[in-house]
Symmetry: C2
Subunit: 785 residues, 2 copies
Amino acid sequence: MHRTPDRPSPDERWRIRRSADDLDRLGETESIFALSNGWLGWRGTLDEGWPYGMPGTYLNGLHERRKLNYPEEGYAFPQLSDTVISPPNATLIRLWVGDEPLDLRTGTLRSHEQVLDLRGGVVERCTEWISPAGHGVRVRSTRLVSLPRRRVAAVDWTVEPLDGPVELRICADLLANERIPERADDPRAASVISEPLIAERHHAEGVDGVLVHHTEHSGQRVAVAVAHSPSTPEHFATDLDATPDRIRLSLTGTLATGEQVRLTKFAAYEWAVVDESSPEELAAEVTAEADAARQEGFAGLLAAQRAALDAAWHTADVLLDGDAELQRATRFALFHLIQAGRSDGDRTIPAKGLTGNGYDGHVLWDTEGYVLPVLTYVAPAVARSALAWRHAHLPQALDRAAELRLAGASFPWRTIGGEECSGYWPASTAGLHVNADIADAVLRYVTATGDQEFLAGPGLDLLVQTARLWHRFGHFTDDGGFHIFGVTGPDEYAALVNDNLFTNLMARRNLNGAADAVQRYPQAAARLDVDPTEVAGWLAAAAAMTLPYDPKREVHQQAAGFTDQPEWDFANTSDDEYPLLLHFPYLELYRHQVVKQADLVLAMLRCPNEFTEAEKAANFAYYEARTVRDSSLSAGPQAVLAAELGHLDLAYDLFAESVMQDLADLGDKTGDGLHLAALAGAWLALVQGFGGMRDDGELLSFDPRLPDRIDRLAFSLCWHGQRLLVTLTADEARYELPDADPGTAVELLHHGERLRITAGAPLTRPMPPVPDWGPAPQSKGGSPS
Amino acid sequence: MHRTPDRPSPDERWRIRRSADDLDRLGETESIFALSNGWLGWRGTLDEGWPYGMPGTYLNGLHERRKLNYPEEGYAFPQLSDTVISPPNATLIRLWVGDEPLDLRTGTLRSHEQVLDLRGGVVERCTEWISPAGHGVRVRSTRLVSLPRRRVAAVDWTVEPLDGPVELRICADLLANERIPERADDPRAASVISEPLIAERHHAEGVDGVLVHHTEHSGQRVAVAVAHSPSTPEHFATDLDATPDRIRLSLTGTLATGEQVRLTKFAAYEWAVVDESSPEELAAEVTAEADAARQEGFAGLLAAQRAALDAAWHTADVLLDGDAELQRATRFALFHLIQAGRSDGDRTIPAKGLTGNGYDGHVLWDTEGYVLPVLTYVAPAVARSALAWRHAHLPQALDRAAELRLAGASFPWRTIGGEECSGYWPASTAGLHVNADIADAVLRYVTATGDQEFLAGPGLDLLVQTARLWHRFGHFTDDGGFHIFGVTGPDEYAALVNDNLFTNLMARRNLNGAADAVQRYPQAAARLDVDPTEVAGWLAAAAAMTLPYDPKREVHQQAAGFTDQPEWDFANTSDDEYPLLLHFPYLELYRHQVVKQADLVLAMLRCPNEFTEAEKAANFAYYEARTVRDSSLSAGPQAVLAAELGHLDLAYDLFAESVMQDLADLGDKTGDGLHLAALAGAWLALVQGFGGMRDDGELLSFDPRLPDRIDRLAFSLCWHGQRLLVTLTADEARYELPDADPGTAVELLHHGERLRITAGAPLTRPMPPVPDWGPAPQSKGGSPS
């Protein structure tokens, strides 16, 4: 499944490289080399701006709104959709050698490499190019998007002659409304708005400039300033030009052998609501910020970047001895998860982070369902920030529930600004489980951190309003069972089903969690008019929740009646008919026993105590044989259950699929941006799969089991402010608190044994035998995307 | 429910009138006064063209295609949709009195009346109007759309001074690309294409002219010719002007008291596929046809129209003594059903006939589900023609089934040209029952007519290819039952359900009917490669068809699990929240026990022998309490079952609702065109409800029962070429063959007694007691539309 090139050296396990051989897949490369600080993102385009897969700079929350047109309208169909747009592009440093632009498609490419340094948080680039007229240059650059300075990104760029004097023109551009390519006719692609930015102000002075624009429909204003530090031979001419959509610093002259031009470009960005800002103030703000970054200097930014990443890796790094390539891929995954979030402000993480415009830059349940279950343990403050973002958008969710004639809150399936933006309701508005996923993320965050202030505040609001939704939406039948009908679970090859097991279990957790929180903070709950009758109603619904089961086949049903559906004709489905959604209508997919992605399997991961091991084994075997993994959300949870059931080779293959999703572009969609949920799924596979970590109780529990291909697996988890380090080998599991003050302790379960880990006193336990539930089930081959 | 104005005199039972009081609802009036011959339709606009609700001329099959845009694409979502467009408007005779246009919104309207003569097949209009400057005129006109001459419509128009000389300008226009109003933001409205016609040729000579246009996307060419017979005082000036989009005959002069201008305008239309026609030939064809009509003269056209209608009414008329208003409304309904179809060529009947552009002028299952069950008995040749149209579009249905990865034929949910045009697949593509409805219409037509030639030919093709669809789509489960999962039945407040009872019963009939036909015509079947194994498969599936039943509530389920769904909160649904689809999301509607329209009740009408009377009574009571009749398709079938169960007052109210659907504009949508299925439903209520006619056996059967409000009900049915006249009074039922040759006989069942009716020997039987299944269930109030 994953490619196995040369094994990297230890240092190479922190580097991702692409060379001239990779220029035919620029979009993929741009996503992989995307840099972000959770608020500002630069795709890994070439400095000179051409050729490109898809240029992109993204600011968390910056978007335009567009009209949705339906062939047939329906009540409460969203009329507008948010679409991510790029602020002016500050990455551009175009170069002309003689009359010829540096363009890797022309001339002779002597060498070319881009390197992502996962510890330094930079992308380095080195290119040696001979122009068609025979003039050679070496261009190098280092880019960063500053983790400490939210608004700042910078590039340090040099050019020098290779073999003799060269006449150069260097144009460092800040360019608004750059044309970007239209996307393919694929339901998962982004929509493109041409020229979304309306110029308001442009100003240039000395070697610096600033552009201010606003959007037409979303009511946002965005300002970008560039501050340059050019270093050229004296005879070079410098010119600065400003138009409404472009600031251009031009450096012109001839370089002799041994000379070079170095240009460091500091860019600062900010956006604000139009009504709450002025162009002048916003321009002044970013101008000052760009200048401050220049004052700090590129070396200073580099050092601060490294320091910030050192701190992040201290908790986040996962050691995976035995497979150097997947070690590197694991760090790649964690790097992108780290840089996707921020702990300042109310900020969430879109499905693609800030690495591309796939899914229109929308936030989906990927965040709470996949990304936060990782970040809660490796960057809990970021998880809090993302949940606070949901809380900040609770008003829209309350309005949406009212529009849907429901109660409580109904969070959007996909959004940027907080309003529902989905255009196909059976797969979105009906996917009510997003509400339970948010509640689950709240409960996980509070359990892992003990952050009672959050629970009593935003957490309570989120839990109560989502519980109200479930209580209103579900119903009791004569047999006393509580049911949730007509919803769509995680599996997108089913829709509008009754009693989706995942949804029901997560709704039960939501209802119980809300009741617990209200009972813990009754005064806080009073602000929401919660009374004991309401709580009793939640508890009754949770207790009576229906969990569909097929006694004949002795498996749970993904939804009521699932196992009565016709089987998919896998024998007559050819390899090129995956992903199925591009070759079969929903009419066929929905009514068959064919599963796009982990659904019941995800339920067994999230709610492990709702199933016996025998049930898990039977369910896993049944659903594994019917799951095609046409979604990148699938392999990680499947890997976890495979590991739990002792199918360790299968688990490892699934882990590899998840972690290589983007590095190997398995779904041919990486060019649209990275699949953060799949990257998170890789961590889940390692920590919850091979580490056997479960977090649905009061204590963390571990049932570790390592596949042969892993010699040593070590990972850290933040738990109530402590860093718990878990190190697994074939023989033993070691638990320790390496950073703890004396007297600190963490309790956990190791294969059911309660352990108390104290500072300075690691505990070691033998690895138990691997469970044997028979041969691993045959997986169905899909092409995740 | 229906308005009760003055009771009409006997002659008035053949007339529909609208006066100046009705000018605030012109759209409705234009639909009610629409004239059609099944190929050409004129809406009942004012001759002068303004004010209007929505002008419209329609030619059966003439359409443009437009792109469908989806917020989120999906495999096999139709990319294009047909939309009905108007050919050039030939109805216009504009009038200026002095400098002021005749416009009923200005000046003083002394009197105004439009009359639809149901026996004459004409619309007469008489208006006395004083211009703002004080000049009075009387304008009269008579319009017809010729039943014998498919291409021809004509208007005979006069103007005369009321009180003194008037200076007049009369402009008889033929106008292409007339601007028509955009429609409301309602999922049921039509889409409007502005200026769909591209001019190819215009020619004027003498007092006649012709326009030829073609469409941009649908590849159609349309020609319209006008031939005028003006009669003016000698001093009047005549002028003819032609531009690419307009032919205008102008008559100018001053009329003295006692003088008049008479203008008779003959219009002829034709359309053809662009590649199979030339502008010159098509222009010549319609020019000759308009001239031929002028040769015949308006009086000749009138006489032929009356003769054609006399023949139609001979079979179609229904006598309803005791309620003069509903007698008239019944004839109104039958008039529009008669003029909606033709027996020449392969022609179907759109949901609105040729009376408006609602539903984009599409053909839906209304045709086979409602209209043909009437026309099969009152105009069997028209039913054959409509079924032949389906057969002519079998290739597209085969292609669509292949695209959907199914087998056999999948007929479109909505179309003009034969391709699927629906933009919301859960309510359309998933509504596979349209295929069984077509098969059912074939079987009914063959049973009623004995047309074995049709059965062995197009009928066999239709039956076999639809049977193949069901056999491929359904599946057997372990318990031996055959199931049809993931489809949508008639009720549009449910979607993607399992084992919809109506669908399953109709699919069973389809499978059995195909098997019967194959067994009867094995040689014909050989051309379709049908072998005995395949037929055995159909029969096995039909025999094992699952019919969901709730043993606890002792009712059938509309679909599996329906009775476990939550109940709708009718108590908290206000009157202004109907129709529910405009106030609640599908998310709420689909999962509740709320029914838009007869579904299980329709199953009990179509397949009466699948249910015991006790089951029908229980089912009817249960579903009547949950059916809101937000669809105009509902009341008719509900009336039939209410009558069968002895709820005669309820049945009468439902009949009244169905028959008054458009005359009272109950759903506020009549302006978009008439609801032909509701008008057909009125006939079903009378003949299948009070007449108790059932047609699912080899013989027609009758279980008549009359409500108090009907003194006498008489209707005719064509049966194997004979006209069977049934006359019902409170005391007796009389069966006779009034037109039959000696020796002719028809067998039928009267309350289970087999009767043989022979020519000249009517049989009379007493009316049996009305069944008593307890009090009538409480109906839910909807607002049908």
